[in-house]
């Protein structure tokens, strides 16, 4: 790898820790970001000649802090200098000593805080995601705009607005207590899963553009897991993302239409990601502290472990969805459970299960797709076609609509064959 590529990777990986520490020191996101930016510019100038420092994050924190303080002293910024009370107490001139101290809990809370401010409850999901990608991951506005399929100007505005919300609210700088830390962790986990889904739920036509979102979410989940290595729900989250993302290459056909799990070419699944996902869910289960991510990961793991669709352990998946319904009741969970129920107890049982959901999911594409599939299996072709038509009307992507159209084509084909046979 060239020097520049290496430095780039080192700066990206050091970013959350360095920016988190600078934010703790300056208590102002803009100042911290500018300080980090200046430190990166300095790194690009000096590292190729002097070689990379032993601890890139510590180097960036120190240089970033010093340049920002110089700027403030020279009156370039209005920002007051932080009081000594608030200063980073573990910043020292000796880099090695600093590095040792940074490995401690400060660093963990710094990164968690940086992620946590992106999950402000006043921010809608899309703004949380955009902000996290900009601040924590350091993606450019252009990259984020591309992933969201919006213009750069629109994305710039979205991020500016989100930052304004954060600036108006007090950022929680005190080191959190245990309950607060676990609440932050849960919020951050939810936000990372949003980032992942924003990438994963894209249709076949835009999937390539959005995969960076999935990869970034996985990278941040691994980072979080490194900071909290014994948290089963974080293991579950990382496992869930890895097991789902492992199927990427098999999810769409050449025309971009969805391929259902049971029709996917399993040889296209990524075995390394599956191995990592299975390792993580195995580890998580040993803790015997269940949670929604772990259950969803366990379901994904059962699919991953089945060599062929026929070998899928549907009764176990049904049970796992049952636990998820108790833990996190939602019509969508019940709808997903019905797919397992259909395999175990047949389409009529599945149809009965989703009947009470009709009102709540009246605008949900998947509800009608699934309902149509059960009706089709029961030989109720006309009703099935009606469901499929409603699904197409509600489809979010052309890939979804195309997939349903295939069902309708099959129904039409079947009725033609039937008619021909009757004649």
């Amino acid at each position: 790898m060239t020097d520049v590529a290496w430095i780039d990777a080192a700066l990206t990986s050091a970013r959350p820790q360095a920016l988190g520490a600078l934010l703790r020191y300056f208590r102002d996101l803009d100042t911290a970001e500018e300080a980090f930016q200046n430190a990166c510019l300095r790194a690009l100038r000096t590292w190729p000649q002097n070689g990379p420092p032993r601890d890139a994050a510590a180097w960036l924190i120190m240089v970033g802090r010093n340049t920002a303080i110089d700027d403030i002293r020279r009156g370039k910024r209005q920002q007051p200098l932080p009081d000594d009370d608030h200063a980073i107490s573990d910043l020292d001139d000796a880099e090695s000593e600093l590095a040792d101290r940074l490995d401690g809990s400060h660093y963990r809370d710094d990164i968690l805080r940086l992620l946590f401010i992106c999950c402000h409850p006043q921010l809608p999901a899309t703004q949380q995601i955009a902000l996290a990608l900009r601040i924590v991951s350091g993606l450019t506005v252009k990259q984020i705009a591309r992933a969201f399929l919006v213009s750069e100007a629109a994305m710039e505005q979205r991020i500016t607005r989100a930052k304004a919300v954060i600036a108006r609210n007090k950022v929680p700088f005190e080191a959190p207590g245990a309950p607060e830390r676990s609440a932050r962790l849960a919020a951050v986990a939810a936000m990372l899963y949003l980032v992942f889904n924003e990438g994963y739920s894209a249709g076949g036509d835009s999937a390539d553009l959005r995969t960076p979102l999935c990869e970034e979410a996985i990278r941040l989940a691994r980072l979080l897991l490194k900071l909290f290595p014994a948290e089963p729900e974080i293991m579950g989250l990382a496992a869930l993302m890895l097991l789902q993302y492992a199927r990427s290459a098999a999810r769409f056909d050449e025309s971009g239409a969805v391929i259902l799990l049971e029709d996917q070419d399993r040889s296209l699944w990524n075995p390394t990601m599956i191995a990592e996902g299975l390792a993580l869910i195995d580890k998580a289960m040993r803790h015997r502290r269940t949670g929604a991510y772990q259950i969803q990961a366990a379901i994904a793991a059962l699919h991953a472990r089945a060599a062929t669709p026929g070998k899928t352990d549907w009764p176990q998946i049904d049970l796992l969805y049952g636990s998820l319904e108790i833990l996190q009741p939602s019509p969508v969970v019940t709808l997903n459970r019905s797919v397992a129920v259909c395999k175990v107890r047949g389409p009529q049982a599945a149809l009965d299960m989703i009947a009470p959901l009709a009102a709540k999911l009246a605008n949900y594409f998947h509800f009608f797709g699934v309902q149509g599939a059960y009706l089709m299996q029961l030989g109720r072709g006309d009703e099935a076609r009606e469901s499929f038509n409603r699904a197409i009307a509600l489809a979010n992507t052309t890939a979804e609509a195309d997939h349903i159209r295939k069902h309708i084509d099959r129904l039409v084909e079947e009725s033609r064959t039937k008619l021909a046979a009757e004649r």
Binding site: A9, A10, R219, R222, L223, P229, A230, A279, L280, K283
Partner: protein, 121 residues
């Protein structure tokens, strides 16, 4: 003589590589691997999953299972090779070839005392 070449690197940096960067490194390494295999000097090669996937069994009485790798270090054990070389100079030469294909981090060259299993020449 058999040597283990233990590969250490900051896994956050390696994990931050894009797929293209990762593929490029792997392609360069494959050339070196091919050369070694041709000479019958390449034994088992492994790339390890991230340390977050690791579990440690402390052989206390009773044994304790811990999440994470055995040692928390700045650079992590990310993989290893078993190679056949005449002496340390030969092993270092192999390590340097590998290092040119995959710069950054460090290789620990460790002579192997006992080796069970198959060494495929």
């Amino acid at each position: 003589m058999l040597y283990a070449i233990l590969c250490y690197h900051d896994e956050a940096v390696v994990g931050g590589w894009s797929k293209d960067e990762d593929d490029a490194v792997m392609a360069k390494l494959a050339v070196v691997h091919g050369k070694l295999a041709e000479q019958g000097r390449l034994g088992p090669v492994a790339r390890l999953l991230p340390t977050t996937a690791a579990t440690t069994l402390r052989k206390d009485d009773p044994p304790v299972v811990l999440d994470g790798p055995f040692a928390e270090t700045k650079e992590q054990l990310l993989g290893f090779y078993v190679v056949e070389a005449e002496n340390l100079d030969g092993a270092l030469e192999i390590a340097q070839d590998l290092g040119r294909a995959n710069p950054g981090g460090a290789y620990e060259i460790r002579p192997i005392g006992v080796f069970h299993g198959v060494f495929k020449p």
